[in-house]
């Protein structure tokens, strides 16, 4: 893996001479397309708030990991987020009620519990890097892990893409075609949890959901088919990811936040295109 990453050194830029930048570039190229693909489904199935809650619940997962004395809290993190995600799904199935209150409550609860667990003894500062993330500290071994994740989760997402999409359009319709919305959603939530928790270290809890949602939301403004939607989302994520990384190098800012700001800019541009199109559609239909 390291040998492949070192190939980036041939790039004729100052930043490409640094190993941490080459590692970060490899991570961005690997992970942003996966985020973009997953985001198209999250946005389509109106789960943006849900995935936000999963991201924020990580704080509690980390807290539990620390409490249990784990050197690397990842297992506790994955376990807790999975529990929360499936719990929310099950609650929705049982109560058939609107989800925003339940999601909001569990999110506040998880943040509060996480802060309490991690601030015991006044040591919260040790964990602030989970909030903001640090892409430049990523190692080739971690990139190998990301590579495996991208293959497994990306492959799984493509395999289940059609069902998840149809469930997002209408659950009863999907059920009448022999699909099981609940179990498909459980799988999807498991995929979201994997992606969110494995990337927390370098993106940070505060903005990881934006990275998931923004490319898809921006693509959605102008796409006219699922193919365009996914393709645009992937391109936007890749471009903003690389540009954000390089930009953060020159501006000396946190990478995750820089990427999200760029993606937000793209969102505003596509939104403007959408509004202009709508106006011209309206004119032509009025003629």
């Amino acid at each position: 893996m390291k040998a492949i990453i070192d190939l980036f050194a041939v790039l004729p830029f100052e930043w490409a001479q640094y190993e941490f930048m080459r590692n970060a570039l490899a991570a961005v190229l690997l992970v942003t397309p996966l985020f973009a693909l997953m985001g198209t489904l999250v946005v389509n199935n109106r789960m943006a708030f849900f995935s936000d809650a999963i991201g924020h619940a990580s704080l509690t997962g980390i807290g539990i990991g620390v409490l249990l004395g784990m050197g690397n809290p990842l297992p506790a993190l994955v376990g807790f987020s999975l529990l929360l995600g499936v719990g929310i799904l099950a609650m929705r199935r049982a109560t058939q009620s609107a989800m925003d209150t339940i999601i909001s409550l569990s999110m506040s609860f998880c943040i509060a519990l996480g802060v309490v667990l991690l601030s015991r003894g006044g040591s919260f500062n040790k964990y602030t890097h989970y909030l903001i993330g640090d892409l430049l500290s990523i190692t080739p071994v971690e990139i190998q892990g990301l590579f495996v994740m991208v293959i497994v989760v990306g492959g799984g997402l493509l395999m289940f893409y059609n069902r998840i999409l149809l469930i997002g359009v209408n659950e009863a319709l999907a059920r009448s075609r022999g699909m099981s919305p609940f179990w498909t959603q459980v799988l999807f939530v498991a995929a979201i949890v994997m992606v969110v928790t494995m990337n927390l270290g370098w993106v940070g809890i505060l903005i990881i959901n934006s990275l998931l949602i923004l490319p898809a939301a921006a693509a959605r403004n102008i796409a006219r088919s699922v193919r365009q939607y996914v393709a645009l989302s992937v391109v936007i994520a890749l471009v903003c990811g690389v540009a954000g990384l390089v930009g953060s190098y020159y501006l000396d800012t946190a990478t995750g936040g820089t990427v999200v700001l760029l993606a937000m800019g793209v969102f505003v541009v596509t939104l403007a295109i959408k509004l202009i199109r709508q106006r011209s559609d309206f004119r032509s239909s009025a003629d």
Binding site: N44, Y161, N162, V169, A172, L173, R175, S176, S225, R227
Partner: protein, 262 residues
Amino acid sequence: MRESYPPGIQHGGIAAHRCGQCCTEIERIGVRLDGVRVLEDVSLHLHCGELTTVIGPNGAGKTTLLRALLGEVPHSGAIKFHPVVRPDSAEAPAIGYVPQSLDFDRSSPVSVCDLFAAAISRLPVPVGCRGGARRTAMGALEIVEAGELIDRSLGRLSGGELQRVLLALSLTPLPNLLLLDEPVSGIDLAGRELFYRTVSELRRRLDVSILMVSHDLAGVVPVSDRIVFLDRRIVCAGPPAEVLANTELRHAFGLDLSVPEP
């Protein structure tokens, strides 16, 4: 998966056009929700090529009946399909379903072709809607005179267009039993007439049994072969003229408002 629909292919190619003999038996369906009996003892025999409409007041259990048939709510009783080629066998019918109203994000980029591909194809939709899935979608859309909608986004369809698209989707692959839940609610009059005409032609051309739930008594009378007046149980069932004469139905639908003689 069938790619196109020559008329009367429903029965393994044996009995051709309008066999009228395959039968879906709905036997003594009952549903309890939170201890309350919502449906009791509903039995119906549905023949191929026949359009049966279920009408009834709000809360009569019409939609619950469809949900029971779809297996979405726990219920007693059974639903069996007896194909004409194997009349003694009882199978679970292949069910096509058109939901009441599709509650989805109108800004969704999902196109009609994408919707078909998501429902019928193994190839992930992000690759595009093409090849066999596209041909199948086109074939089904043309049956309901909606071929030109294939590349339109779902959010840009009118209510009537969306219902025709969903109808085409429910016919892919061709079901034994087609369930329509209030298919014309929220559709303008012209769209309604077109929808009823399409459904009416379909039952003959494709020889499926259709069970439709509706509020629109005036609209369904001319197209239905049979009307079932449901109010938790079947109050009366038969040809439209017969059911229309039923006093309970006339009362429920306000058809008895003639001024009493002085």
